[in-house]
Amino acid sequence: MLSFIHRSTTLKIIVNIVTLIILLFAIGLSVAFGAVEIQLSTVWQAIVNFDQNLTSHQVIQELRLPRAIAAALVGAFLAVSGAIMQGMTRNPLASPSIMGVTHGAAFALVIVLAFFPAATNFGQTVASFVGAGVAVVLVFMVGSFSASGLTPAKLALAGVAIGTMLSSLSNILALHFQLEKQLGFWLAGGLAGTNWTSIQVLLISGAIGMVIALMIAHSITVLNLGEDVAAGLGQNSFLVKVLGIISVLILTGAAVSVAGVIGFLGLIVPHLTRFIVGTNYRWIIPSSALFGALLLVLSDVVSRLINAPFETPVGAVTSLIGVPFFLYLARGSGGEKS
């Protein structure tokens, strides 16, 4: 463990600033890289000194910049959702994709597209909040009726089963209403379709979700010590959990409505973050956001490199990174109660 960082506030601030700088550089790289290579200096010019007559500036402004920013925001949201879920449930396997939350959101999106095709971007986002909520409720209901309680592994299995069921239902709807293409896109996860409107959606819901997350950060640290300790310290655990779930729903819902199901990101990043900055959620939440953003921006670049000039769904890239990690965690916690 990097305990010297855990103890020093200055070092934590430095870690975060360094990550932020790398993130900005990665966003620049993501913008520069593509079908037409663009110099990093041109990227900078397009941002500070936009010239409408230059094609490269237009490509940057209309296509690549929104995509890179969306990748950063979606990555940040999924990572923070994962951090909140892991902190609240003290379950190392908790994360939006494993617990079926993302599939719930995708299911709701398909329903909206099938029955209310006129719905706006905003309507779609709200629907994906609701879908994510339904999935969370289902998974926790299964967990709480279980014979030997909520072991981390069981909760994960319940999430996978419910996720499979929801995505099967989405498949049927998609086949019936000829929405396979949209559904395929959501289930694979991708950032190709992002524009400035999606960024607006992400920024508005993200601001709300992140404010709630930071508000309850300290309470999550306490909750993570155990509910008894939290109660002893006079904390209203129920309220914290409700707020936590609301912020998870908002963050995950917004992320899925823009980029689809991107697996394993929300699982890995919080573990990584805890390893680097320690167990205080006041640090874990902002640092998770930065690490998650960095990871998704880089994964997005990789997804464009694997099979250039075609794109590979970024969800496949994050899965390949995340699976070995998941297996490591599954070996550690499988079957035993935490």
Binding site: F145, A147, N171, L320, A330
Partner: protein, 338 residues
Amino acid sequence: MNTEHKKRPSRFVGIILVLILLIIVMFFVTLSTGVINISPMEVIKTLMNQGTDKQELVLFDFRLPGIVLAILIGAMLSVSGVILQGVTQNDLADPGILGINTGAGLAVVLFIFFFQDTFNSTASIFMMPLFALVGALFAAILIYSIAWKKGINPIRLVLVGIGVNAGFSAALIIFQLKMNPQDFRQATVWLSGDIWNASWMFVLALLPWLFILIPYALHKSNALNVITLGDEVAAGLGSKVEKERRILLIIAVALAGASVAAGGAIAFLGLVVPHITRKIIGPLHQYVIPISTLTGALLLMVADTIGKNLLTPTQIPVGIVVSILSAPYFVYLLMKTK
């Protein structure tokens, strides 16, 4: 107890007869339903070689191979599930959930990707089960060795299976996108568990596997009974536990692999059927294996008919129907498992 034991053989024969009768009824129901309606009487006429040309075409070239394939795949996946559940003493085992199907699917896709052009189409259909078997075996060994930690814990095994499954799926997506469009479509058919593009070639390619492996499994049912009692009892009874376990595992994996090669990457079927069968006839594998063969075939035919007729003209892949019907049962089992 003793009288119960004596009654069993006659009960067994009775159940077999009822199941065969039900399969015959379903056979005609499935044959006569679909986008083009052919009444059961006309089906019989056509089978007796007295139908119109159009009816002959629809029945012999489209529906009949699909139904026969459903029967074969249903039988093979169910027996695979019976063996996996017995050998791992795990109620939650199933070739689909454990990732064995995806391993086989990945091998098939790699085969199409690298070797399709080397062989003519007939040879490649017969080669596919072999490749699928290699992939399935690789997946099984991988899962087993990752999940091994001073023994195999049921939940950990399933959890590791899900992780490996996700990794293979991601690799699949990446490879699929590198294919040319025609191969891509062919590969997609396997992964969704779609059996309607069936042809008699697939039936022929599957038959030898079925006729060798299922009787062999039946022959090994005593060993399976002993293993189910637990390692210590089995060793005490003089059974070479590890050797028998390995042989049985290979049979199960081969059955699953061959089904996947023919287009039956159907999750949850091998999970549910053994449970239903044990409820009907008790735990003795001499009875469980034959009855599972029939229940599996029947269940897959029913699911296929539902998928075809629920939302006509939309046809729902049978794998999706099975998932929706069985995922709740998985959740129920999960809640009971300690």
